[in-house]
């Protein structure tokens, strides 16, 4: 199963194995990673699962959809070039080992 490392805002690293097809948001909430809300349930409608993706993995992801682009303008913490919504990133062998940093706040 693809491995994901979440780095919480205080620096705590959390390692989670996710079945392929699960979103990084689901992996975080299900396993109690602090700093991801996902209050819309993963439908790209709330911008509370914002993450900063490690540069090494950024190019391996599908680019954001038009909706995700709009939502990335609504994040509570500043949007950076590597900002993504983790509900839109699906675990997949090609991104095995992906590292994402969590912002200071989601709301």
């Amino acid at each position: 199963m693809p491995k994901v490392t979440y780095i919480e805002f205080d620096g705590t690293e959390r390692h989670v194995e996710l079945p392929a097809g699960w979103s990084l948001m689901q992996g975080a909430t299900l396993n109690g990673v602090d700093g991801i809300e996902g209050e819309c349930g993963g439908s790209c409608g709330c911008a509370t699962c914002h993450v900063y993706v490690d540069e090494a993995f950024l190019d391996k992801l599908e680019p954001p959809s038009e909706t995700e682009e709009e939502m990335l303008e609504c994040t509570a913490a500043p949007r950076e070039a590597n900002s993504r919504l983790s509900c839109q990133i699906k675990a997949d062998p090609r991104i095995d080992g992906i590292v994402v940093r969590l912002p200071e706040t989601q709301t």
Partner: protein
């Protein structure tokens, strides 16, 4: 009272789960028991009428947390456990197996139960309601065997299910007693849009149509008989005609109830040791300016957080502007505020193209925004309403005007 008695939460839905989770997040270290009637760990209900039936989500992905989370956080999760009564004087929750649990604080997160269809034949095989995972799994089995589906009630649940059934290529008829779809929850302009959307997807929507009987053969449903005499063939009937707050435990022990368990801004009931959260509560909402009862994920989660904060000794009154969402086909509807009683609607965006928002004003003040496939408008609208900011109707109607600038200017 027993030494060591802690927080006992009745109800494993969104509000009950959130209360437990937030208590731990706030650093509460006392005992927590979470009493859930269902056998499956606390899970998200919204996907049940949406992605779940399309096979996009398996049941394990519905869980809020893995089972391990509860053990690791000292939350005594008791599944398949029914509460039968409350001994307020002795501060004990009575359980169906005859045992009881001592509490220092009791939280009633008992939710709501479906309103039953009061017509002959409603008990036939193939007539289903949609609230729990067990409900939807039974619907899934039935759905595989039938071609004709009738949906009674054109609210969120009924229409979301209708969209799913159409995606699975079923013949779908929606019967609604009111003159328009989603009449109880949305403004007429939005009802019109969803009516058109469903018709374009091949759903036969019949408003102003009451149901007088469900007919069947050999105990199995075969058709729905309407008040106008028409019969709609159906191998599966899904009924979504609303819910009733689950106040049985509260009523029986004398807590004040009025269309729900009456609570204050901190989720306190008329007994200082007992709190309530979620669909089962009614309360004076500061944004509404009156007593209301909400049935939504946002309300359940935020009231759960509010109750946890009060119990943890960090009280923070509940004042979130209500928001809701619904997914039907590729239409993402997000609503914030309360549009009832508004006197002016301003359109922003492209209605024909299915990407627009409706800004609802009352006496010149913005009260609600409904967004269809414009999620950024929804997020900005939440911030505007929370801050008490009103764009002018001209600004709202100009899709080029950046709502974010108003929000940013106010917080600068």
């Amino acid at each position: 009272m027993d030494e060591g008695a802690g927080v006992v939460i009745v109800g494993g839905g969104q509000a009950g789960y959130q209360t437990a989770e937030s208590l731990r997040q706030l650093g509460h270290t006392g005992a927590i028991a979470l009493i859930a009637a269902e056998d499956f760990p606390p899970y998200q209900r919204p996907p049940l009428s949406k992605a779940y039936l399309l096979g996009d989500v398996d049941r394990h992905r519905l869980k809020f947390r893995t089972e391990a989370y509860y053990a690791e956080h000292g939350i005594d999760l008791r599944l398949g456990t029914e509460a039968t009564g409350i001994d307020r004087a002795g501060k004990r929750l009575l359980l169906a197996d005859g045992s009881s649990l001592a509490y220092r604080h009791l939280v009633l997160a008992t939710g709501a139960r479906v309103r039953l269809l009061p017509v002959p034949g409603a008990g036939l095989m193939g007539v289903h309601y949609l609230r729990s995972l067990a409900d939807v799994e039974a619907i899934e089995r039935r759905l595989a065997e039938v071609q004709h589906v009738a949906v009674i009630g054109a609210g969120f649940i009924g229409l979301e299910f209708a969209a799913v059934a159409r995606k699975l290529d079923k013949r779908v008829t929606v019967l609604e007693a009111a003159p328009r779809v989603m009449a109880r929850v949305v403004a007429p302009e939005l009802s019109g849009f969803f009516d058109e959307t469903h018709r374009a997807h091949g759903v036969d929507i019949r408003c102003d149509t009451g149901v007088v009987e469900i007919a069947g053969r050999d105990g199995q449903v075969t058709e729905v008989v309407c008040a106008d005499g028409h019969c709609v063939p159906a191998g599966l009937v899904v009924v979504g005609i609303g819910v009733i707050p689950e106040t049985g435990l509260a009523d029986a022990c004398g807590l004040t109830c009025a269309d729900g368990i009456v609570v204050d801004g901190h989720g306190r009931t008329s007994d200082p040791a007992i709190f309530a959260a979620g669909d089962c509560t009614s309360y004076h909402h500061p944004f509404a300016g009156q007593r209301i009862r909400l049935e939504s994920v946002q309300n359940a989660a935020d009231q759960g957080r509010t109750v946890a904060a009060a119990i943890a000794g960090q009280p923070r009154p509940y004042d979130t502007v209500p928001w809701f969402w619904s997914d039907q086909y590729d239409v993402k509807l997000q609503m914030v505020g309360l549009s009832a009683g508004c006197d002016r609607v301003v359109l922003r965006g492209d209605r024909a193209g299915g990407k627009f928002s409706l800004f609802h004003y009352r006496a010149g003040v913005l009260r609600a925004v409904d967004s269809v496939n414009r999620p950024a408008d929804h997020i900005q609208a939440r911030k505007l309403l929370a801050a008490g900011l009103s764009p002018t109707p001209g600004q709202a109607g100009d899709a080029e005007f950046k709502l974010k600038d108003l929000v940013d200017a106010a917080s600068a």
